[in-house]
């Protein structure tokens, strides 16, 4: 994987005349994890939505590999996002959900392998409607694994996961970073991701 770089310069976000953050600068390189911390309402999700390009920053610029993210198409080729809801279709099976995701991106792992890795082997034919909240989160993780996306943007990835699943999620975040990926995440939990990889921003 080529090295990638996400750079934020002087980002500001204003909501309802309240300044959530201003003049935020950071650079995230390959093999790094950025953890965004802050109390409720501090603007974590707003920052993530700016970083995904859904929302325009009220001031400042974003650069992906030293190029401004104006035309988001190239940036989106490299970016995956898991938000509060997982982006899964309730009435499709796990396999159909992943196949659709692969059809819109570059596939890496096969669907069976990805499900195996997140511990959902045997759920290929199960409708997402019949899966628990934690299993849906794992399925969303499987979507990251079966498509080639260097930059992962994760909004509270550990919600509704049990301890074993959190560990699994952290393992994949760590190995993704070790393989040259970039991860941006918000979390309330303490993470066991090694400090050598980790950068923190406190909003």
């Amino acid at each position: 994987m080529n090295t990638k770089k996400l750079e934020a310069r002087e980002l500001s976000c204003i909501r309802d005349e309240r300044v959530l953050f201003s003049e935020l600068n950071f650079t995230l390189n390959s093999e790094q994890v950025l953890l965004i911390e802050g109390r409720n309402g501090a603007g974590k999700t707003s920052l993530l939505r700016i970083l995904t390009g859904f929302r325009k920053p009220d001031a400042g610029d974003l650069f992906w590999n030293d190029e401004a993210i104006d035309d988001t198409q190239e940036f989106y080729q490299d970016t995956a996002y898991i938000g509060h809801n997982n982006g899964l279709k309730d009435t499709l099976t796990s396999e159909e959900n992943l196949r659709y995701a692969q059809a819109l991106a570059i596939s890496t792992l096969t669907i069976d392998d990805a499900l195996e890795q997140v511990g959902l082997n045997g759920y290929q034919e199960t409708l997402v409607r019949f899966m628990s909240a934690g299993q849906r989160r794992r399925l969303a993780l499987a979507r990251l694994l079966c498509t080639h996306k260097p930059l992962w943007i994760l909004d509270e990835p550990f919600t509704s996961l049990d301890r074993a699943s959190i560990k699994l999620f952290e393992k994949f975040i760590e190995s993704h970073a070790n393989q040259g990926g970039l991860v941006i995440m918000t979390s309330h939990h303490d993470t066991s991701i090694p400090h050598t990889l980790l950068q923190k921003i406190h909003l």
């Binding site: 970016t79 996002y81 982006g87 279709k89």
Partner: protein, 227 residues
């Protein structure tokens, strides 16, 4: 490693929407049943005056088709917006307007094509002549995709609102007027025995214009609703 082509993505969106509709197949009946019922109400209210029914039948069928299309269009992006899959669709390197076109085509296949099969029966019920029914079908074939395409813009614009239904109708119905006018004048011409090719060419032109232009504002409105 190769990125999926635009054709693959286009096909995947249509395939997924058809599959989703198949899983909710009971809901497919709704616009169809609505269409049939609205049309059936007219003979009941007007009485069995064959000449009058025959005269206004095309208008009844077109207005009913228009309302049936409006009824189902709200679902076009709503479910995707609620479960987050719209975000995934926006975050692809492919042009969003092309993927939007795929969704609209899927909607047209599911909501309008069934009406095309029922419409001749409704025409017979209202005593329309068979050659006029043929022209009516042609206008529906050319006009209904335009309804879905234009409706898509309004749906995307009202996506952020919790209760967008009434606003949607107010936004969309005026935009449906041109296609209604051309369609009914085509059928009128057919009933009076005049050539209809002029009207149909105009509808073709509107259809191609809508296919080319409407996905762009729809895509822009979708991005706006996500911010």
């Amino acid at each position: 490693m190769k990125h999926s082509s635009l054709y693959q993505a286009f096909g995947a969106v249509i395939k997924r929407d058809l599959l989703l509709a198949y899983r909710h197949r009971a809901e497919l009946i709704n616009p169809l049943a609505f269409f049939v019922m609205v049309i059936t109400l007219f003979p009941l209210a007007l009485g069995a005056e064959i000449a009058l029914l025959k005269r206004i039948a095309p208008a009844i069928i077109w207005v009913a088709a228009l309302l049936a299309s409006l009824m189902s269009i709200d679902n076009l992006f709503r479910a995707d917006y609620d479960d987050g899959s719209l975000e995934l669709m926006v975050m692809t390197p492919h042009s969003l307007s092309i993927l939007v076109l795929a969704k609209v085509i899927a909607h047209w296949l599911l909501s309008s094509v069934p009406l095309l099969f029922i419409a001749p029966l409704m025409g017979l019920m209202l005593h329309m002549d068979s050659d006029v029914i043929g022209v009516l079908l042609l206008t529906l074939l050319l006009g209904m995709p335009v309804l879905s395409l234009i409706g898509g813009i309004a749906v995307a614009l009202t996506l952020g609102l919790r209760k967008g239904g009434a606003l949607l109708a107010i936004l969309v119905l005026p935009l449906y007027v041109p296609i209604l006018i051309f369609a009914s004048s085509a059928v009128d011409a057919a009933m009076s025995g005049f050539p209809v090719s002029g009207h149909l060419s105009m509808m073709c032109a509107i259809l191609f214009l809508a296919i080319t232009l409407t996905p762009l504002p729809t895509a822009a409105a979708l991005k706006m609703s996500l911010s």
